[in-house]
């Protein structure tokens, strides 16, 4: 069976066909096609299809990509750390409880200034919570998560196509800035099937290319250079402060260059909805329904959750009567929205918890109730 699947797969790629697949499956395909060198993961719902798809596609026989089911998320992220230290393009995926376990490793990757890609297909918490979709790891992803002063580049896909596109974008950004990137997806994007166009196969970099591109990597001294050491340890405080300043300068550069968002009907709207991930698409439907009632709302969808598009939100909010933040959590992104608009207008939150997805009608109702009827 398996070799046949493989052949079909490559024929499809060559034709650049539109295909129908789950977000999680699409990530697996995108990783191979990007020329990813290694994937290390541990099963957890709702993202196990990433590992399952990779194991079925057997990329070690085609591109040479390493795929390994680790003994835990802790082991998986430390495998990513090791692979990243050696200059390889490596990734892991998990869902909320597993991402919590990875935090020490993510902090080490950030502290050692390494590129890596981490996918979190969020489920509801706290604790073991639920396997249903959630966006409750926004704080964890955008405010640090692990210990120390670091940031992740956080990409928020709202479609299966973006799941694919952000694999490439995430790797590119993480290599450009030598800092880990996270795709923060909700369980909906991971599980739903949609049309998707996969990119062409990129060859994996040769060992020689990696040595040239990553002169800092632990590739083995190989005759030409002094030893490379990848570490996040620096006991001398004055030097540790310099390292921290270097990281912070890089984060400011990322904020300047890489902030991404999408706007829908913002200009002539009276109200602004801010939502990320798949929820932004439900909000787009709600926006149409509101319009039928004569309520003009526009949407800002942050694509990078860090760096947060604060200037875009601030600009879009000018002249509006209020902002509704719709999230699958108890109110997390709303803090960044409030910081962006400095309390210049009412900012309200509407969220469902525990894995419940709001209907467009509920969002219209919330808009009316919280911003239109309740204006003091």
């Amino acid at each position: 069976m398996l070799p046949i699947i493989k052949n079909i797969y490559f024929i499809h790629i060559m034709k650049e066909e539109v295909r129908l697949m789950k977000g999680n499956e699409a990530v697996a395909h995108a990783a191979i096609l990007y020329g990813c060198d290694g994937y290390f993961g541990y099963p957890i719902t709702p993202q196990s299809e990433v590992l399952e798809t990779l194991e079925a596609l057997m990329p070690w026989e085609t591109t040479g990509m390493v795929v390994l089911q680790a003994e835990s998320e802790v082991a998986a992220i430390n495998m990513v750390y090791g692979g990243a230290a050696s200059g390889k393009a490596v990734m892991t995926s998990s869902s909320s409880p597993g991402i919590s376990l990875k935090q020490e490793g993510i902090s080490y990757i950030a502290g050692s200034e390494l590129p890596a890609l981490i996918l979190n297909v969020m489920r509801g918490g706290p604790g073991l919570g639920t396997i249903q979709p959630s966006q409750a790891d926004y704080f964890q992803a955008t405010k640090g998560g692990g210990h120390g002063d670091y940031r992740l580049i956080v990409l928020s896909p709202s479609s299966v196509q973006e799941m694919v596109d952000f694999v490439g974008l995430g790797f590119d950004l993480s290599f450009k800035y030598r800092t880990p990137a996270m795709i923060l997806a909700d369980g909906i994007v991971g599980q739903m099937m949609e049309k998707v166009v996969l990119p062409p196969q990129r060859p994996r970099r040769t060992d020689e290319e990696i040595r040239r591109q990553c002169p800092w990597a632990t590739t083995g001294r190989n005759g030409e250079r002094k030893r490379n050491v990848v570490t996040s340890l620096e006991l001398e405080s004055s030097r540790m402060e310099i390292i921290n300043h270097r990281l912070q300068a890089r984060y400011r550069e990322i904020e300047r260059n890489e902030t991404r968002w999408e706007e829908i009907g913002v200009e002539d709207a009276d109200y602004l909805i801010v939502a990320f991930g798949s929820i932004a698409r439900i909000c787009a439907k709600a926006m149409e329904m509101a319009e039928e009632k004569g309520i003009k709302a526009g949407i800002i969808r942050p694509i990078t959750l860090w760096p947060f598009p604060k200037e875009a939100v601030e600009k879009a909010a000018r002249g509006k009567k209020g902002i509704l933040c719709v999230e699958l959590n108890a109110g997390q992104m709303i803090e960044d929205v409030r910081l962006a608009v400095h309390d210049s207008l009412p900012v309200e939150h509407y969220g469902r918890l525990g894995g419940i997805i709001p209907s467009p009608q509920e969002i219209v109702d919330a808009l009316e109730e919280k911003l239109i009827n309740n204006i003091p």
Partner: protein, 253 residues
């Protein structure tokens, strides 16, 4: 005879390993880590592997091993060296990868990573320095601390009812199908140093031959943590540690 006549190449009986850097080590006088470093530096150089060896240093006293041995190094989180080494070895199969771990790293916080890397038969070398104590954090109980042994967290001696039994991690590793060579040695006498060097060499040969995981445990002293002189430590180790952790090969295939 003048001193100049004596200081000649042909009279040389010992020289510092080429891969060992000419810097002060942070280890306490009498500690086993320095000797183990020296052996590693010698073996890697003699086997011509300096340019394709990558070491993984632990969290523990050997965290700064990367400052002493002139190969590429990755510094791992506490206990995670075998996971880091797994990726380094699988992604660069022509390199030789070794971990260097203490007993806390190997047998407490990193038990899962150590057992599973060995069980997968990763083609790596695991150097395990068992000093029966947490050296770096100031002498607390380790999983390998002996019954009755006093540490900062067992001030009246380790008790089975409170702290459980010393963990024989190396015996467990030897039982796994992924390991090809598991040995327990020491470096407290010239003879044991020579023997251990041969064991480390064998472990590196196994990694080159892709035979699976090799584990070299070195039963070691920590005179600072044990609060003894170096000489007393060696004697205490011979009297007490070797009974629980007998020297010799546990597995050699």
């Amino acid at each position: 005879m003048e001193i100049e006549d004596i200081i000649k190449e042909e009279n040389k009986v010992y020289s510092k390993p080429r891969l060992l850097d000419d810097v002060h080590m942070h280890y306490c006088p009498g500690c086993s880590h320095g000797v183990v470093h020296k052996l590693l530096a010698e073996v890697i150089d003699e086997m011509g592997l300096a340019e394709r060896t990558v070491g993984v240093s632990p969290v523990g006293c050997a965290v700064f091993a990367y400052n002493y041995i002139d190969v590429d190094w990755v510094e791992a989180a506490h206990g995670r060296a075998p996971a880091v080494a797994t990726a380094l070895s699988r992604l660069w199969p022509s390199n030789v990868v070794f971990t260097y771990q203490g007993d806390g790293d190997m047998a407490a916080i990193g038990t899962a990573e150590s057992i599973h890397a060995a069980n997968r038969g990763e083609n790596i070398v695991m150097i395990f320095v068992n000093n029966a104590i947490y050296g770096m954090t100031g002498g607390q109980m380790a999983p390998t601390t002996l019954i009755g042994q006093k540490t900062a967290t067992t001030p009246y001696g380790r008790r089975v009812d409170l702290n459980g039994h010393p963990l024989e991690i190396t015996d467990i590793l030897a039982r796994l199908d992924g390991t090809c060579y598991v040995t327990r040695q020491s470096v407290h006498t010239p003879a044991s140093v020579r023997k251990t060097k041969g064991c480390i060499k064998k472990a590196f040969e196994n990694a080159l031959a892709k035979k699976g995981t090799s584990v070299v445990e070195i039963v070691s002293t920590c005179n600072s943590g044990w609060k003894m002189s170096p000489v007393e430590s060696n004697e205490w180790m011979e009297r007490n540690m070797f009974e629980k952790y007998p020297l010799g090969d546990l597995k050699n295939i």
